[in-house]
């Protein structure tokens, strides 16, 4: 029996795979790491006393489902290096370490190899940001995963070697700037930094918290950020991007333009948290070549041919930035569409 190949075992690939398997299809899931989950594998809960809709509650049951489904075979530590078009469907050439193998009888392919975070890119961390008091938002994820404030009642532990009494969140790093190789808005960072700030507020009522936004975004299907949200939680809002960073022994000093008063001003902080944008994933050139796809001007992939005819589908952040919930909804839609196309093909 032919199989559907899903390449990439992040939340996009796993959602699609689980959906297809539940509909009785045989699925081959190919993941280059040794476990499922992708970027969000070890992200932590961002609730304060209430759920802040970070969506992580939704994902573990999907990963478990993929592990348990008999219809899904997962190849770990494996990637795809070529795709051969057959009379019916494809044969994929996979590579795992030294080993190259053929995977015949593939009827369709869903490509879901996700994104890269800005901090992972070689061009990522500019010199100015090399300082232990400056961290990436994703550095918070490990601390959040280890949080013990809900049950054990202990405050969040900073894994920093010092205890900050103030923190500033800087939005739009690695996004919306040509120097940073991303002209677009990454759509998720306003939301996740706001959630991290809420966790800090909940754990440290005395901490000084501020956020610098250029443009505050909605944060998914359910959250519409507003200045009132921040005010309510005593998080100071700055509607600009700081112009200069000064590193003093005792603190970091941000210089920004106070446009209301039309003059320069400064803000001191112990800790600077950088948002980090969603950048195109790796291997896009290869995918474009072997699957006949196109890179858009931001480096994300799109199909040239209709998937119904080509049999090649895209799911998740391989196509554009998005949060977990939008990724899951779209991946489900892609899986249903594939099934629908398969069915109408079978009828013909």
């Amino acid at each position: 029996m032919s199989r559907i190949a899903v390449i990439g075992g992040g939340i996009a690939g796993c959602t699609a795979a689980a959906e297809l398997a539940a509909a009785g299809q045989q699925v081959l899931l190919i993941e280059k790491e040794d476990s499922l989950g992708g970027n969000i594998k070890n992200y932590g809960c961002k609730a304060d006393s209430l759920c802040t809709r970070c969506n992580l509650c939704l994902v573990d049951s999907v990963f478990n489902q993929v592990h348990q489904e008999e219809n899904i075979e997962v190849l770990f530590d494996t990637t795809v290096i070529d795709c051969l078009k057959e009379d019916e469907g494809f044969t994929l050439i996979t590579s795992s370490g030294e080993l190259e193998e053929q995977q015949p009888d593939i009827s369709e392919v869903i490509l879901a190899t996700g994104h890269t975070r800005w901090s992972e890119l070689e061009t990522g961390t500019p010199e100015i940001f090399r300082d232990e008091r400056i961290i990436w938002a994703s550095d918070f994820e490990d601390m959040l995963e280890g949080r013990q404030d809900q049950l054990t009642g202990q405050n969040l532990k900073f894994d920093l070697g010092f205890e900050p009494e103030s923190a500033v969140f800087l939005q739009c790093n690695g996004s919306r700037s040509l120097q940073e190789k991303a002209r677009y808005c990454s759509k998720v960072c306003c939301g996740y930094n706001y959630r991290i700030a809420r966790v800090l507020r909940n754990n440290f009522p005395e901490m000084d918290l501020s956020m610098f936004f250029i443009d505050m975004q909605e944060a998914g299907f359910l959250v519409n950020l507003s200045r009132e949200d921040l005010k309510e939680r005593e998080i100071d809002y700055y509607n600009c991007k700081p112009l200069r960073l000064e590193k003093e022994k005792d603190s970091l000093i941000l210089h920004y333009e106070d446009q209301q008063r039309g003059k320069m001003a400064t803000l001191e902080t112990d800790l600077l948290v950088l948002s980090e944008g969603i950048h195109p994933g790796s291997n896009h050139e290869r995918w474009a070549r072997i699957f006949n796809l196109q890179e858009n001007e931001d480096g994300f992939l799109r199909t040239i041919w209709s998937p119904a005819e080509s049999g090649i589908y895209l799911a998740g952040t391989i196509t554009s930035p998005g949060d977990i919930a939008t990724t899951m909804a779209e991946s489900k839609t892609v899986a249903y569409k594939l099934l629908e196309n398969k069915l109408s093909k079978a009828k013909v």
């Binding site: 509909a23 992200y43 932590g44 809960c45 609730a47 006393s49 209430l50 759920c51 809709r53 969506n55 992580l56 509650c57 939704l58 573990d60 049951s61 478990n64 959040l144 995963e145 280890g146 949080r147 013990q148 404030d149 809900q150 049950l151 054990t152 919306r176 002209r183 677009y184 808005c185 759509k187 443009d215 505050m216 975004q217 909605e218 998914g220 299907f221 359910l222 959250v223 519409n224 950020l225 507003s226 200045r227 009132e228 509607n239 446009q259 209301q260 008063r261 039309g262 003059k263 919930a325 939008t326 899951m328 909804a329 779209e330 489900k332 839609t333 249903y336 569409k337 099934l339 629908e340």
Partner: protein, 455 residues
């Protein structure tokens, strides 16, 4: 009424979606009077001319426009504005975020309008007042282009923007002073569609805090209603729905089509109401988070609809007559060890993520939702055993069954009060909340708890 009722794939309340594969019927909100049945076979009653009509539908999509409120008089709504391309002398003034931040869909409308005017008439001044430019689709490109074309963007929270009743706009900032009149277009505030209270009653679903039909809960994303087979769009769904309009429509249509290929029950258990015991008090009807219970007129008893039921067991634990039972209900025989009741959506997932099983030496009962727990069960467990009882539910507002975690906390709190009245130790039963991503916290807490019991 004739015996055979017309059957459709989908019934739209409000506007139909463009799709030529599904058989469909459209019913206006004002005409709808009743909905019975469940996914795969809903029966809708509505007023058509002078008749009461009925149709059957496998799915229901509630698709209604937002109500719009303009924050100032004397202006056009951004959602209705047509680009005026005549050789206009007066400036075009676009305002978004006048009070609250507008949704990204409104930024898109504003940018498109500004560009269209600038492209046909580059000399015309276009002012764009905003607090935050919001991005979706290609808004970032439009924004860049608009700036190239010299649309004047001004963040109005960084100064004082005032719009008079007569449509005069004044803006002041340290370095800028503007007095403008012109063609004024303002982003409306989006409010829930009209008559949603009526729909909430008819479909027996709870409304969210702002009055939309969707409760603000991650499990309902993007367009689910809590009741299987009933989908919510646009002004029925939420304030951000215009931003995700295309995704939401696509998702909903695909879900509807998938449902048509067959829907299965959520679990294998059978939940039944004993019609001899049921006194039709409507407790279960009101509490069911999934609108899965209806009155059986013939038996004069409540009835659980098996496909609609999402297997949380809340109704069973709350029926005052003990009239509802489930086939899988097993008498737990916990040994004299610590007893824990955990929810499969949070603690059970955290348990799997932990390096070593935090529940070793513990009698664990995994439930679909902590609302399964009855007060009597708490007493029984405490009476039969010396050990304490710990119940672990989900973080506030992240319950898959919407209200289950809060209902359980209420039960635990009343149990504690009762214990106190009887001079028994209320701390023998404990309720805590966690997310699936809190394995560390869970392990540490149980290690401590273990210590306490040993003492």
């Amino acid at each position: 009424m004739s015996g055979s009722i017309e059957q459709y794939d989908v019934a739209y309340i409000g506007q139909a979606l463009p799709d030529d594969e599904l058989s469909q019927v459209t019913i206006p909100v004002s005409a709808l009077t009743e909905c019975r049945g469940e996914i795969g076979d809903f029966t809708l009653s509505f007023q058509a001319e002078d008749d009461l009509k009925q149709v059957r539908a496998s799915n229901i999509v509630i698709n209604l426009k937002h109500q719009e409120e303009l924050p100032v008089d004397c202006c056009t709504s951004l959602l209705e504005a047509e680009a005026n391309l005549a050789e206009e002398e007066e400036p075009l003034i676009i305002v978004q975020d006048y009070q609250d931040l507008s949704a990204a869909a409104l930024s898109k409308e504003g940018l498109e309008l500004a560009l269209e005017v600038k492209e046909s008439n580059p000399a015309r001044e276009v002012y764009y007042f905003y607090q935050a430019m919001r991005f979706m689709d290609n808004n970032d490109e439009l924004y860049e282009k608009a700036r190239e074309k010299e649309v004047i963007f001004l963040k109005h929270d960084l100064g004082d923007l005032e719009i008079t009743d007569k449509g005069k706009v004044s803006y002041q900032r340290e370095d800028i002073k503007l007095e403008l009149t012109g063609e004024l277009t303002v982003a409306p505030e989006l409010k829930p569609a009209a008559k949603l209270d009526k729909l909430a009653r008819i479909f027996n679903i709870t409304r969210g805090p702002e009055g939309y039909l969707q409760v603000d809960n991650i499990y309902l994303q993007p367009t689910l209603s809590g009741k299987r087979g009933v989908y919510l769009l646009a002004g029925a769904r939420g304030p951000n729905s215009l931003t995700y309009e295309q995704e939401e429509i696509q998702y909903t249509l695909q879900e509807v089509k998938r449902n048509l290929t067959g829907v299965e029950e959520i679990d294998e258990e059978e939940r039944t109401v004993d019609d001899q015991k049921c006194v039709v008090c409507y407790t279960c009807y009101r509490l069911c988070p999934h609108g899965a219970i209806q009155r059986d007129e013939e038996l004069n008893s409540m009835k659980i609809m098996p496909l609609a039921c999402q297997a949380c067991n809340l109704c069973i634990s709350r029926c005052p007559m003990g009239a509802i039972s489930r086939s899988g209900e097993d008498e737990q025989q916990p040994k004299d060890e610590r007893q824990v009741i955990i929810c499969e959506n949070s603690a059970a997932l955290a348990r799997e993520k932990a390096e070593t099983d935090p529940f070793a030496d513990t009698v664990v009962t995994e439930v679909p939702c902590v609302s399964t727990v009855k007060k009597e069960e708490i007493y029984q467990r405490l009476a039969n055993h010396k050990s304490d009882l710990l119940i672990l539910g989900c973080i506030s507002e992240s319950c898959k069954h919407l209200t289950g975690h809060d209902r359980c906390e209420q039960v635990v709190n009343t149990a504690k009060e009762d214990l106190e009245k009887l001079d028994l130790d209320p701390d023998r039963v404990n309720y805590h909340r966690l997310s699936p991503r809190m394995a560390t916290d869970l392990s540490a807490y149980l290690a401590d708890w273990k210590g306490e019991v040993l003492q």
